[in-house]
Symmetry: C2
Subunit: 257 residues, 2 copies
Amino acid sequence: MKNYKLTLQYDGTKYSGWQKQGNTDNTIQGRVENVLVHMLADERHTDIKSIDMSEYEIHGSGRTDAGVHAYGQIANFKADTQKSLSDIQNYLNTYLPLDIRVTQISEAAPRFHSRLNACEKHYRYTIDNKEVSDVFMRKYMTRLKADYDINAMKKAAELLTGTHDFKSFCDNKRMKKSTVRTINKIDIKDTDGIITFDFYGDGFLYHMVRILTGTLIEIGTGKRKPDDIPEIIKSKSRADAGFTAPPQGLALVEVRY
Amino acid sequence: MKNYKLTLQYDGTKYSGWQKQGNTDNTIQGRVENVLVHMLADERHTDIKSIDMSEYEIHGSGRTDAGVHAYGQIANFKADTQKSLSDIQNYLNTYLPLDIRVTQISEAAPRFHSRLNACEKHYRYTIDNKEVSDVFMRKYMTRLKADYDINAMKKAAELLTGTHDFKSFCDNKRMKKSTVRTINKIDIKDTDGIITFDFYGDGFLYHMVRILTGTLIEIGTGKRKPDDIPEIIKSKSRADAGFTAPPQGLALVEVRY
């Protein structure tokens, strides 16, 4: 069995997120696994029912929510196949829908795990604040027209950077594991009305990037002050943080190992 | 009655092109006129049926085909309204769907006509020749993976440039008016597998840009030679030119006056 590492790009608009949900296959993971199982069945001249799907589970570096996009999601899977790397990539890209692409494939070390070995993730949230909303990128940005105070948001971003218990920024109330995470950097830029928030960290809790963005938006629009951040972190209460920004503005850009 | 000039951006994917078709309103022109008539009826506190729609026809600089996009289509219309320019723009952008935007509005001279006064149009055709097709711009490019000879296409483009009778590049068999047009420039670029064809000319016949592109593609892939161009022009027969490239790769970029 070889261990394969995939880099995936997807438009999350039509999907229920990365993670497989029972028998529905409207997830990225479900779509990719489905094509993979067909590939293995084809190669063995057997029926897909004879392939143990659990054996070929694809592990993503993290779950992206419904509607969230990816420029570089990383996933790995183990399989026994005689196909070359480019043949596997071509098979996947031939049978996957056009809004999911395998942009790279390589053989990884046997113990490589896309989630457990990830050391840094880079997410980008994009807000369209142009005078007139963008037609061509409209599905990959959140339209939120406002008079943003970029410097206030930058100041708040600095206060969020570092190792903190981010329980206030997590939408999973029954989270039993540690909610301590490290944010290495948050870059905020305004390029002709397109505002981007680039988050770099060792990992992010459920909805964490979207709640961080929602909180930064509330600071940028004057509803909160940058100095509120330490209190929000300290309270460990989701109710004290900002709103959960909508999914379409979010994309997983890169995972570093 | 003032004469208003609009700059429009649209994603043509879902529309039957620019030009209104009888009672169907799945056209860009139909959508814009419909909102405009509502605006005028609102202002006059009358029913839309009392507004003579023919009076408020919007003249586009040219018809874009079904599925063709625009970064800067120009249209003009005459109307009697007390609304300011920005109020008209806001009204249109509030009620138009998000895949049609009015990016600019200005008052034009009384005799300004977007089609009759246009002196140069710029169309861009984009081909996705990347190793793996692009997810996010997939609806605005045509996927045609091949080993293109860019220099052969550039040589052919030079032979197409100038004033010629482009009858061979026109899909309207019953065209009674002159088929002589001037192409000022054709720029062809390959940027990391994204091939763009930029056409600048005083006007283009029905399907002309798509047939020019199809012919250039056939030259780039070795099915024809650059030196075939003079013969194709001379024959004045549509059958002698290349295929009509699909609409989704085409966009009207700019109209100059």
